[in-house]
């Protein structure tokens, strides 16, 4: 569960792969982030609106609302216009890049993630 220390950065991860969610949660918690996780788009949207995380990582292949739709929706909400939203996907690089550009993502991270530098990459988006 996220701690209530509002001075630490916060991250919301939305992905239907529970092992991936747990992996990201562990990596980012160890780096001092408050981390929320959601296994589907609807829950993820609700958490995003309630918790207003500093950065979001969203799987493009969600089973209820697809990831691009969710990202496009969030990026049209004033609260998220300037927040980094990063797509996480196993799609081929070109497809991922096209979707990222089209839907206004701030970037993408390919799956499977590299545990060694995942936290650094998230931090880089946050400090842009």
């Amino acid at each position: 569960m996220p701690q209530d220390d509002l001075s630490t950065p916060s991250l919301l991860v939305i992905d239907d792969n529970l092992e991936h969610l747990e992996l990201v949660r562990r990596i980012m918690t160890a780096r001092g982030y408050r981390v929320w996780v959601a296994a589907n788009g609807e829950t993820g949207l609700q958490l995003a609106l309630e918790q207003q995380p500093d950065v979001l990582v969203i799987d493009l292949g969600l089973p209820d609302v697809d990831g691009q739709t969710l990202i496009g929706h969030l990026k049209h909400l004033p609260a998220f216009v300037d927040k980094p939203i990063i797509a996480c996907t196993a799609w081929p690089e070109e497809t991922a890049r096209n979707m990222v550009e089209m839907y206004g993502c701030d970037g993408y991270i390919s799956k499977p993630i590299r545990t060694a530098d995942f936290a650094d990459r998230i931090a880089a988006y946050l400090h842009r």
Binding site: D64, T69, H76, T95, N98
Partner: protein
């Protein structure tokens, strides 16, 4: 991870008493079983696992699969699942409408491909069509899915046309042409579909659209007499099921005006426009309105 069937009891497996007795031994272990024998949760888990390595995986959850079954008249008594012991290897679904069937959601677990499972599923579906006394079958295959395309050709399917899957991210229109615009409710939109000229893909046939709760439409005429309409579905986050038709005049000008007025009203919604024929006369208007081709399907049929 394989999909496990529920624990079996000493009772006869349900599929052995199914009204469709198509269970057939492809080899010593593979069995083809009606999809009705499985829960929606089992079917959706199997479906998602068959697609994990697809270019466009399009995963579903149980609610979306149930909706898909309803909208497209998928009949689970005639849809089929391939099993080996307690493991689901693949599945294929059958839409049934008067005089025609539609084959959809065919997929085999990546590690179980190239062993005849897909062909066994296809042959079971075609046997079901025979049992229904329906000779016309149609399907769509993602372009460049060579193994599936080759299988369909082998089974006697021929290509009819290419279909585009288009997407447009949320955003307002750039320019809004002056026009007379009328917004249509479900019944009014549905009535317009009877005037269609181009035969639609199964997903856009009138019975599919009639099942959509939030079907709506927009009719429009321009000062030069160009006129036509757009029928669509509006969901919480997306617009979909686009059918556009020009009654008279310039198809591209009409399309531009229809899309501009649509996105003036719904600037925050994402759009999936599926199965638009490659020769649709409004395509330039779609691309001008920031639609992007996501991928293509090849429509095939067999008599």
């Amino acid at each position: 991870m394989p999909i496990e069937l529920p624990p079996t009891s000493t009772a006869k497996p349900r599929w052995q008493t199914s009204p469709l007795m198509t269970t057939e031994e492809i080899d010593s272990s593979l069995q083809i079983v009606p999809a009705r024998s499985f829960s929606i949760d089992q079917l959706v888990a199997a479906y998602n696992q068959t697609r994990v390595d697809y270019l466009v995986p399009m995963p579903m959850n149980a609610a979306r699969l149930a909706e898909y079954i309803h909208i497209y008249d998928v009949d689970l008594d005639y849809s089929q699942v391939a099993v080996d012991g307690d493991q689901i290897l693949g599945l294929a679904m059958l839409g049934v409408r008067p005089g025609r069937i539609w084959i959809t959601r065919l997929g085999v677990l990546p590690i179980k491909r190239r062993r005849g499972t897909g062909e066994a599923l296809m042959r079971a579906l075609l046997a079901a069509a025979n049992q229904l006394r329906i000779s016309y079958a149609c399907l769509e295959v993602i372009k460049h899915n060579l193994p599936a395309h080759t299988l369909f050709l082998k089974l006697g399917f021929v290509e009819t046309r290419e279909l585009l899957i288009l997407r447009r991210p949320p955003g307002p229109p750039v320019e809004i042409p002056s026009a007379e615009v009328g917004w249509l409710n479900h019944a009014e939109a549905l009535a317009l579909l009877d005037t269609r000229i181009t035969p639609p893909a199964w997903t856009n046939e009138t019975p599919s659209l009639a099942h959509l709760e939030n079907l709506a439409g927009l009719s429009l005429s321009l000062p030069d007499g160009t006129a036509g309409w757009l029928v669509f579905e509006r969901q919480k986050f997306i617009l979909s099921h686009f059918i556009m038709q020009t009654s008279q005049g310039d198809a591209v000008a009409l399309g531009q005006a229809l899309l501009a007025h649509l996105y003036q009203r719904y600037p925050d919604l994402d759009t999936h426009a599926e199965n638009i024929p490659v020769d649709d006369p409004h395509l330039a208007a779609f691309f001008g309105a920031r639609f992007v081709e996501s991928f293509r399907r090849i429509e095939m049929h067999r008599h």
